[in-house]
Symmetry: D2
Subunit: 312 residues, 4 copies
C-alpha cells in the first residue's frame, strides 16, 4: 500500500476542490487527477497538473487566434499527419506534471531523459522512509544467456528463496543502521542523548538501490511520448516499463487522438534500414531473399524475420 | 490596431467558455486569458495557457502529497529563500504559453533563448500579412557614440523624416513585389492567369526584417524569469524590451509572490565581483578607494560608481 | 566568391599552423580544416574545430580506460548496432564546430534546432556586408500545386526575368538605404557631417531576408546527424539542403564508420506505421492489398506506394 | 588506489601517442591528458578530450575568419567583459570530456546538471567492481543543528567507530550477496552449476549508494563553469566538492584567462538584492543600518553581515 492515511487524506482534500477556468480541460484526466496509481510494491504515479489537450496541438500547429480546431475528423487527420512526419513543435505545446514514487535504481534510468523538469525529495535534507522494493516471485528472473542486457527464465525453488531472503534481510539491516547512525526519531528528537548523529547527507549512503525515492516530474507531450516509446517497450527493464505502461494509460485519457496516432506511428511502428527496405522490395517481387543475399548483418536479419513473422 | 474583427471575435468566443477544473487556478491571469496586450505598432502578446501558480512552486519544493502550502507568510519566505539561493527546479514546475506577434528582427533576438518551445507561423506554407514595424518618432534613435551596441539621441528634423520615409517606402515596395511574385489572391486564386507564381518559400525572401511574424511560445517559470532578467533590462533593445515589460506584468498577475521575489533578488539585484566587493568593504571601513587602488578595470569601476550613485 | 582576399589570407595563416596533440585526430577532416566550402552564391561552411572520431564513439560506449577499440570490424559492428537501436549517448561524445555564412531566411529555419551552440554576427553591434542571395535561374521554382510547402516547375521567360529583376533591385535599394541611414563609412567615419546616423540596431530592419549573416555553430555528433536527417532530406527547402549536403560530406570525412551507419539506418531508412507493416505482411503472404483494405489514409497509402516503387 | 595495473597500462599507452593537428592546442592540459587525478578513496577524474582554448572564446565572440585574437591584454579584457556581462554563447564554443569514477550518491547529485552529455557504465549489462566509499575519519560529520542541509562537528570516539564499522560491514555484505546472487565468476562462468544466477539488472539493487560507478561526461565551457560555481562552493556536499575542486584545477590549465575571469566574476562574486544594495548605499553615506531598518529578512541580513565581515 503506497500511501499513508494522512497522505490519502491530503489527496482527497485536494481532489475535492474545483474552480472554473477558461483553459482547455481534459475531462477524463480531471477524473483521476491527484490520485495515486499504484506501481510495483510501494510505488505510484500521480498526475499533479497538465496544460492543453488534443485541441491545443491543433491550435499551435495552426498558430490560431481562437480554438483553431475544425471538425474532429480534420483535427484527427492533422494530428496523424504531424505524428507521421515527425513534427515535434506542436506536441511540445502541451505539458504534464507527475508525482512519482519509485526505487532509486529505476530513478537512475529515468533521469537520463534530460528534457524533463525534476524536483526530487532530498535525502540531504530529509529522512527517507523504510520502504524498499522486493520483486514479486514471478519477476525474479535469471540472467538471459542470449542477451547480456536482459532476463531469462524465472528463478524458482531454493535459489529464488535465497535471493528474496537476501534482498529483504540486507534492506532491513541497511535501514536499521541508517536510522541508528542518524540517531533521530521521526519528530527530529535525538534517540540516544550520548550521541550526535551522523549527517543525513552521509547516512543515506548506507541505503541500497531498491529503496524508494520520489519526485515531481514535468515534461512536454512530445518528450513524454519519446520517453514512452523507449520505456513502454519490451526492451526496457520491467521495473521501469510498469511505470511507462501506467503513464501510457494517462496519455490515452489526456489526449486520446494524439495517443492513437502515437501508438500507430511510433510505439508500434518499425524502422527499416536501406538494406532491409531493399530486401522487402525484392521479396514483394517474388524473390527468395536469404541472410546471405540480403546485405544485412545476422542480428538485423533475425530481427527483421521476427518483425515479419509477427513475433514483435 | 493589431487584430482584425474576425480575430477579435474568435478570441471573444474562446474567452466566453469556462469549465470546472481541479487544477490550481490563477484568477488574475484568467481575467486576461487570450486577450491581446498591444505592443509596438502591430504586435501583441496573448497568454494562451498556464500551468501552476505560487502554491505549485511551494508544493514542488516540498514534494508534497497535497497542496503543500502552509501560511502565506511561510510560503512567501520559502519562495524568497529559493530565489535568493538560485534554486531553479521548483520554479521549473510552472509553465506558461503565449501567442506573440512581433517583427522578424525581434524574433531573431528572442529565439536565442533555446529553453522554450516555439511553433512559428510558416511563410513556406502560408502568406504573410502586409504588416511591418515603423518606429514611433521618439524611438528613432541615433547610434550611440559611447556604446557600440546602443542608442544615442533621438533623430529629428529632415534626417528623421528621411528615415521614416525610407522605412515606409521600402517596406511597401517589398510587400507589393512579394504579392506580385506570389501571383495569388488572398483566397488562393491566381491573379494573373498567364503567370505561375513564385514558390512561397522563395518569395518571402524579399520581405524586410521589420515585417511581423507570429508564434506560439511556451516556457517554464524559471526560464521565463531568466528571459525577463535579460530582456526587461535597460541594456536590451527597446523593441524587445517592450515585449518583456508587458510579460513582466503578466508574471505579476500569474505568480505574485514569485514576481516580487524575482524583482527583489534578480531583476533589481546586482552582482559584485571579488574585487568590487573588496573595494566596498574597504569603503565601509572609511578608506577612500579610487580607480587606481580598487583593482578594477576602468569600465567596471565606472559601472560600480553608477550603481552606488543610484544611476541604475 | 564568398571570401575577400584578407579573409582567405587569415584562413591560410591558420591552416599553416600545426602542433602535436595526444587527442584523437581525424586526418581527412584536418585536410579541409578552416577551408571555406562554397554554398549558394555567397555562402560557405567552414569546419573550425572538432572533438573525437569513430573510436571516441566506441570508447564512450565501452566507458573504457584506454582507446577501447578492438578490431575495425568489431568497432564497425558496434557502431551499426548503436545506430540501429537508436543509442544516442555514445554519439553525443563527439563534437564539431562550423563557421557558416548563410541567408537570413535560411538561418531562421536552421536556428530551430535548439540543441546546438550558436554565436551569430551581431547587426546591433556591427555593420552587415552588401551581400544578398539571388537564386540561380534553375532554382526559380513556382509554387507547387500538389504540396503547399513545396516547389513546382521552374519559372521561365518574362516571369523569371521579372522575379530576378525585383529581387536584385529591391535588395540593392534596401542596402543603399541601410548605408544612407547609418551614415557611416566602412572605417566608422560619418559620411555626412550634418547627420547623426540611425542606430545600427534600427537601420538593419530595412534589410531583406535574403541578406547574408554568419555564425559559429557547434553541435554534438548525435544532434548533428539529427539535423542532417531533416535537412539533407528531399522535403527540406533547397536553400538549406545544399548546406546540409555539404555538411554530410564533412561527416563522411570526420567519422566514416558512423557516417555509413547513419546513411544506412537513418538517412535512407523508412518508418512503417503499425498498419503499413500489417499491409506489407499481408502482401508478402500474397494478398492483394488496396487502399481500401489497407487501413491507411490516402496520403500514407500513396507515400507507401512511392517507397515500394523506389520513387524515393 | 583507483586504478588497476591494466588500466594504468592502457592509459600510458594512450598517453604515449601523439599526432599533429591544426586545431588549437592547450599545452598545459595536454600534459595531464588521460591521467587519473585521484579523488576520494577510489574515485578519479580524467580529461579524455577537449575542444578549443581561450583564443577560441575570443574567435567565436568576434565570429572571425582567422584566429581572431589580438594582443593578450585585449583578449583578456574581452574575456573579462564577456564574463562580467554574462555573455554565455562564446564560452559555449569550447568543450571538455571527462572520465569520472564516483560514488553513486554523488552521481545522483551530479546528474541534475542536464546540459551535459553522459554515458554511464551499465550495471544492467556489466558487473560492478567491489569498490565502495568510506569517509575518512575527519569527514565523518554530525548533522548540523543550524542548517538542515549541512554538516556539524566531526564525530569521534565510539560513535565514529560504530559508524565506520557499519558502513564497511554493510557494504561488504551487500557486495558478497550481489556476487552470490549473480553466480558468475569474473570471466563470466557460472560459479555454482546448480544455480542460474539472478539477472544483473536485478542483482544490482542490493548495492548501496556508496558503491562506485563511472561515466564519460562531456560539457561545454559555459555550463562547466556553471557546474563549478555550484559544486566548488562551500554549500556543496564535501563528496562532490572535491571533484569540483579537482576540475577547477583542470579549468585553470585549460583556459587560464577564462578561469581567472570566472573566479573573479562568478566563483568569488556575490549578488546583492535590491534591498541589500540599498542598505549598503546607506551605510556608505554613514548611516547605521540595522536588521530592523534594512528591509532584509533575518537570514539574508546575517548572510550579508557574514559577507561584509569576510566570513565567506
Amino acid at each position: 500500500m503506497p500511501l499513508s492515511q494522512d497522505q490519502q487524506a491530503e489527496i482527497d482534500r485536494q481532489r475535492a476542490e474545483s474552480a472554473p477556468t477558461r483553459r482547455p480541460v481534459a475531462p477524463a484526466l480531471e477524473e483521476v487527477l491527484y490520485q495515486a496509481i499504484p506501481v510495483l510494491d510501494h510505488g505510484f504515479v500521480r498526475v499533479i497538473d497538465y496544460m492543453g489537450d488534443d485541441t491545443a496541438v491543433v491550435q499551435a500547429a495552426r498558430v490560431s487566434y481562437g480554438k483553431g480546431t475544425k471538425k474532429v475528423s480534420e483535427d484527427k487527420g492533422l494530428i496523424h499527419y504531424l505524428m507521421r512526419h515527425r513534427h515535434s513543435t506542436p506536441f511540445e505545446m502541451c505539458e504534464i506534471k507527475f508525482h512519482v514514487k519509485l526505487p532509486i535504481f529505476v530513478a537512475r534510468q529515468w533521469i537520463r531523459h534530460r528534457t524533463a523538469n525534476v524536483n526530487e525529495y532530498s535525502a540531504r535534507y530529509s529522512i527517507l522512509d523504510r520502504e524498499f522494493y522486493i520483486p514479486a516471485p514471478e519477476q525474479l528472473a535469471a540472467q538471459s544467456v542470449a542477451n547480456r542486457q536482459g532476463r531469462g527464465d524465472v528463478l524458482t525453488g531454493p535459489e529464488a528463496e535465497r535471493v528474496l531472503d537476501i534482498l529483504k534481510r540486507d534492506s532491513t539491516t541497511a535501514y536499521d543502521h541508517y536510522a541508528e547512525m542518524l540517531n533521530e526519531s521521526e519528530s527530529g528528537e535525538m534517540v540516544d542523548a550520548e550521541k550526535q548523529g551522523l549527517a543525513r547527507e552521509l547516512a543515506r549512503m548506507n541505503l541500497s538501490l531498491n529503496f524508494y525515492t520520489q519526485w515531481y516530474w514535468k515534461i512536454d507531450l512530445h518528450n513524454f511520448m519519446h520517453f514512452l516509446s523507449l520505456r513502454a517497450d519490451p526492451h526496457a527493464q520491467y521495473e521501469i516499463r510498469v511505470y511507462a505502461d501506467a503513464m501510457l494509460d494517462v496519455l490515452r485519457k489526456w489526449v486520446p487522438l494524439t495517443a492513437e496516432a502515437f501508438e500507430q506511428h511510433r510505439l508500434h511502428a518499425i524502422t527499416l534500414s536501406k538494406n532491409a527496405l531493399d530486401a522487402i522490395k525484392r521479396m514483394l517481387k517474388g524473390e527468395a531473399v536469404t541472410l546471405e543475399t540480403s546485405g544485412l548483418g545476422k542480428r538485423e536479419w533475425s530481427e527483421l524475420q521476427a518483425v515479419l513473422n509477427g513475433e514483435r
